[in-house]
Amino acid sequence: MYAYDELDRTLINERVSEFRDQVKRRLSGELTEDEFKILRLQNGVYLQLHAYMFRVAIPYGTLSSKQMRRLAHVARRYDRGYGHFTTRQNIQFNWIKLAELPDALAELAEVGIHAMQTSGNNMRNVTSDQWAGVAPGEVEDPRIWSEILRQHTTLHPEFSFLPRKFKIAITASEHDRAAIKIHDIGLRLHKNADGEIGFEVLVGGGLGRTPFIAKTIKPFVHGRDILSYVEAILRVYNQYGRRDNIYKARIKILVHELGIEKFAREVEEEWKQMGHSALTLDHSAIEEVRSRFSYPAYEKLPHMPDELKQAAADPLFERWRKNSVAPHKVQGYSIVTLSLKPVGGPPGDATADQMDAIADLADRYSFGEIRVGHEQNLALPHVAKRDLPQLWRALDRLGLATPNVNLVTDIIACPGLDYCSLANARSIPIAQELTRRFANHDTANMIGRLHINISGCINACGHHHVGHIGILGVEKNGEEFYQITIGGRADENAQMGVLIGPAVPYAEVADVIEDIVEAYLALRDRPEELFVDTVKRLGVEPFKERVYATR
């Protein structure tokens, strides 16, 4: 966990006071909606179909149990008893009242939570690997660098009025769980030949109307220079990025239109002009941030405790363990993913009661720490293996032990037309129906790793372009239709999915997905060949043929 200092606490509290005054002036009519809109967006407040939506920042997806309890309280006191964890590792409340928002913000501020820069044309929540700091083989904890970037970019005047929103993700593992290649800037922490810590810097990734995979702009930027290099990129973007057309305003368009080589030259020139600036991080500055992260006092524990050996006789426990428990860098410990994808449930939602219970379990089994993943699941990052059986029983009672992590029912979905004013079509009911179709866990296991991503519009909050199967809601003559893509992926081999054919109506989507999965099972050359690998080997044609032959 990162402990905020006095400066952070003052900043957050001052922001609450400022927003309270802004809301008061809005409700009295002193501010018009046009004047107020940018102010509310800077505090994570959108206006959706039924109500205001309040997006709360969870920097790099790390939460304390105390913070989780406060989120539960906000859900219960100010909303309708639940919250929605997002692909940006944030949480959204869908039914909040503007008049009560300052009070909710004040209560969150007491535990170091805010909503700054969760919306608007500025630097959004810096995301990272939800297993940061505990994954085996990691170069180092990427959250240290996420925090340095968070501090530098929060309320930074030069980054507060960018041409468009700007997203950074950081990973420090070979396997990219942070989807860095679909971000405006992706940072891959690694060591150079001299053993120095630095970053491969990627730029220009993004989804939405015009999707691009990020390109490497510089293979190695020393850690001490990362702030200045990122700032150089942002300066070039701020200077040349388009402000006249919202659809062409993201940095991905600029990188595409200039070409990565020319863009890189511009950045290099800017960076050189900045010289050895105040942005160069000295060792003590990095260590100061590092020192504010606290790590558990791990015990020396056996690799295979007796409790785990005994529990292995229970097939239900074993199925969950194999699916939802991952290796930890410390012997005797595990990382446990809590599935927020129960059969028939809205993906990523958790009730206030569940949040409170998760906080209690985090205190009991995970040194009070919880993580949020961009896949809309949670994780307990420090669970002793001896505690796994007890934890599983508790999670099962709470509906949080569905053994479907990374399987066909672990669906990423945006709120869609049920909530969102931008959506063309519903996402959640499609996800719910698919989880019912594939509810049999043995079948899901037999299918293997398969990511379905659903977006209710082209803005792609459900990351449909990079789903192994992507589902995009569109509107045709007032009816909901869905385009299907296959073969996308968001990891270190990120690529966009390929459209298989004409959009299909709402009522046929689940049948089409079943057809695609059945085709895969018939086409894969061995059980270990993953869906995306079969698509890569054979292309989309066999799947297209299966789906459209009878339609």
């Binding site: 046009d34 309708r80 809205p346």
Partner: protein
């Protein structure tokens, strides 16, 4: 918010209402014939011509303190009742099409 420019382009093809979100809590509201807002679609003022729609919208937009983002939405009149004219308006009027709480 619908801009004045967009308002000039308004052409409706059937019965319509003006809807918005109430400023203090964001609730879905409909412009009434009494120059106020109601959360009940049944109390909405119905307009059937483009000129009337434009006038009702202008009235709604002018009440920036009461409601936000006013726009014209189609409705259907069935047996004396007012029904939302499309899925979006159905969801705004009746609520989400899923269970509110996670299963």
């Amino acid at each position: 918010m619908t801009s004045p420019l967009e308002q000039k382009k308004i052409r409706i093809t059937g019965p319509s209402v003006v809807t918005a979100n109430r400023t203090w809590d964001g609730a879905v509201v409909y412009r009434t014939a009494q120059q106020g807002w109601s959360t009940a679609l049944s109390e909405a003022a119905i307009v059937s011509t483009s000129d009337d729609a434009r006038a009702l919208l202008a009235e709604g937009v002018a009440d920036d303190v009461g409601a936000v983002g006013a726009y014209i939405a189609p409705v259907e009149l069935k047996g004396g009742a007012i029904k939302p004219g499309n899925l979006r308006e159905h969801i705004r009027s009746k609520g989400v099409t899923i269970d509110l709480l996670p299963a």
